[in-house]
């Protein structure tokens, strides 16, 4: 089936070359990082995780887009998602590749990475994150590929795929929960030490993931004969707006807890994030995120506006940027501010850090592109 990815028009090959170039530049930068150490990043003793880990946090959510479509399709036989399902599953694969790539480039000694398996440590959440991420990758790979293979010969997918699908739905919840647990179980990091961390991860995942998927589907519609279907799009927009409302509600719960209780440890990170103390570029980003989130809700809550296909992409882009700033940048830097000595340490990603991250994304998008190409080619083949 992969051979279908070898035939494409010049636009397809242009896109592939672009991704390869980004991967090449970032890959070379990674070699530079391997030689010099993580000193080429903006990280420090006090802010010891940054841009790389932020990508893991955010892309775990994007991987979840699959479950928001798979669940209604399989559990409630909601047939409108028929065309979208395969895109969702393949997007999950790319997103998880980005997650795992982000962890690898964040390691100080990546060549010893297999120590996590050689010396398995069940009390470490990172060990479980490795397990659930790899598991989810494998599940989606098997389900997506087998479904496609059978579709090619005009057959229903085999029976044994069904249990895997059900498992993947439960598993999707686990990847967020476990990734959230990376943060929420740490004593002394006030911003992360909250029971709603995992629910926040789920809520932001369930809005950002489908939003990106819907945007991607719109692009795919432009460049191919693929059609998501009006009803599917409407339904997805509804899912996105509900999840976004819950996401913002949970964040406001944090704000209430911090400021009504007046406990300094809870207040400080939020004050920093919104510029009330040690204001820097992070505050600008957070207020931008606030404005964009508000804009997206205004565009998505009233049904009239939500169903406006011209406005929808803009609302989705605003939502994606807002959630990215909040859950990626804000969550990480806010968690490390103030530091354990109630002090403030500046962090901003450096150019090499951004180049390496871009390469990780390019690798994930490359895989998604190939898989989408295969899926669409087979769809066209069977339709003809």
């Amino acid at each position: 089936m992969l051979e279908t990815a070898l035939k494409g028009n010049s636009r397809y090959w242009g896109w592939i070359s672009l991704l390869l170039i980004v991967m090449g530049i970032g890959g070379a930068t990674w070699v530079y990082q391997l030689n010099q150490g993580l000193t080429i990043t903006g990280l420090s003793r006090d802010v010891s995780w940054g841009f790389y880990v932020a990508q893991l946090t955010y892309m775990v959510g994007v991987a979840a887009a699959a479950v928001m479509l798979v669940l209604p399709y399989y559990f409630h036989h909601y047939k409108a998602f028929k065309n979208m399902i395969i895109l969702a599953e393949f997007q999950a694969i790319g997103a998880i590749i980005i997650c795992m790539g982000s962890i690898v480039v964040d390691l100080g000694q990546p060549q010893r990475m297999l120590n996590v398996i050689l010396h398995p440590t069940p009390n470490s959440v990172l060990f479980w994150d490795m397990v659930v991420l790899n598991g989810y990758l494998l599940l989606n790979l098997i389900i997506g590929w087998v479904t496609l293979m059978y579709q090619r010969s005009n057959m229903m997918p085999p029976k044994w795929v069904k249990p895997l699908v059900y498992l993947s739905i439960v598993w999707a919840v686990s990847i967020h929960t476990v990734t959230a647990f990376l943060y929420q179980g740490l004593p002394g990091r006030h911003f992360w030490l909250t029971a709603v961390m995992a629910p926040r991860f789920l809520a932001s995942a369930f809005c950002a993931g489908p939003a990106i998927l819907l945007l991607v589907a719109m692009i795919v519609e432009k460049v191919s004969s693929f059609r998501a279907g009006e009803e599917a799009k409407k339904a997805m927009a509804k899912i996105i707006v509900y999840a976004m409302c819950i996401n913002i509600f949970l964040f406001l719960c944090e704000v209430f807890t911090a400021f009504y209780s007046g406990i300094p440890g809870h207040k400080h990170p939020i004050e920093f994030l919104f510029g009330a103390a040690h204001a820097n570029y992070v505050a600008v980003l957070m207020w931008t995120a606030t404005a964009l989130a508000a804009f997206s809700l205004v565009c998505l809550i009233p049904p009239k506006l939500r169903e406006n296909q011209k406005l929808l992409p803009w609302a989705l882009v605003a939502l994606v940027i807002a959630t990215y700033i909040d859950k990626g940048i804000g969550l990480l830097i806010g968690g490390f501010t103030p530091n354990p000595f109630e002090g403030f340490s500046f962090y901003a990603p450096t150019l090499p850090e951004i180049a390496i991250t871009a390469a990780v994304y390019a690798a994930g998008i490359f895989v998604i592109t190939i898989l989408y190409k295969v899926a669409l080619s087979i769809k066209e083949e069977t339709a003809a």
Partner: protein, 259 residues
């Protein structure tokens, strides 16, 4: 029994697998540590839970504390790196930084502007050990929170987990930041990409010596077994008022400060 081609292939497959596994099993067997051939140093000092009591009344100025820090950093080849990517095992900071949330609005004038020593607390219930995905940081039988630099993958989860900021990461190769003449040839340096911290001088205790900073402190630092009610540290804690850093987090630090 009828020998079909299928059963033949099955047996052939299993035998090949067995042959292939043989060297692996052999290799694994030879890696089993030969216990009889290794033993602890007879000079080793023993304790159930090593602990340190810092008598802050006797450590008032930088001149009091600098020799301790120098002794530690020289003993362990800790590099001098300036800026936010620094590496440190033993250092000082002000009262508000060391004991946040433990001081009222108005403070004893002298204490408020005084510096205190900081190091790994060797917690009884350490979050860093809980989160490490490779057991590169772990508890020794004697209560020391130990680092295995050979195994550390540099994920820095322990740095996020430590509420005391006790851990440093080698963002770059530390060797160029060490004065070669002042190096301790008995102790290794580190390589880039691993996390390090105070080890309560585990290597000295095993040779029957007290930690380097304790030795240099002229009695201002006490070192002993917290599990032994008759130990020097327990006596000092019985007779003096002491505090630990961030007790509310439940980590149960083994470094006490007599105020």
């Amino acid at each position: 029994m009828q020998k079909t081609r299928r059963t033949f292939l099955k047996y052939a497959g299993v035998s090949v697998l067995g042959l292939a596994a043989m060297p692996a099993v052999k290799a694994a067997a030879s890696y089993v540590p030969h216990q009889v051939h290794e033993k602890p140093d007879p000079r080793e000092l023993h304790a159930k839970r090593w602990a340190m009591v810092i008598d802050t009344r006797r450590l008032n100025s930088d001149e009091d504390m600098k020799p301790l820090i120098d002794a530690c950093h020289k003993e362990h080849n800790v590099p001098k790196i300036d800026g936010p990517q620094e590496v440190k095992w033993l250092w000082t900071d002000t009262m508000h930084a060391v004991f946040p949330e433990q001081s009222g609005e108005f403070q004893h004038a002298e204490l408020e502007h005084k510096n205190f020593l900081l190091l790994c607390n060797h917690c009884y219930n350490p979050p860093c050990v809980r989160v490490c995905p490779t057991k590169a940081t772990f508890k020794l039988q004697n209560g020391i929170t130990m680092m295995d630099m050979h195994r550390c993958i540099g994920c820095r989860f322990c740095m996020a987990a430590c509420p005391y900021g006790a851990r440093s990461f080698n963002f770059k190769n530390p060797r160029p930041f060490l004065d070669e003449a002042a190096q301790n040839p008995e102790y290794p340096t580190r390589m880039r990409g691993v996390v390090e911290k105070c080890t309560f001088c585990s290597e000295r205790l095993e040779k029957g010596q007290k930690p380097a900073c304790v030795e240099a402190s002229k009695g201002a630092l006490l070192f002993g077994d917290l599990a032994d009610p008759n130990s020097e540290v327990r006596k000092a804690l019985k007779e003096n008022y002491s505090i630990v850093r961030k007790p509310g987090l439940g980590t149960q630090p083994s470094v006490y400060y007599i105020i």
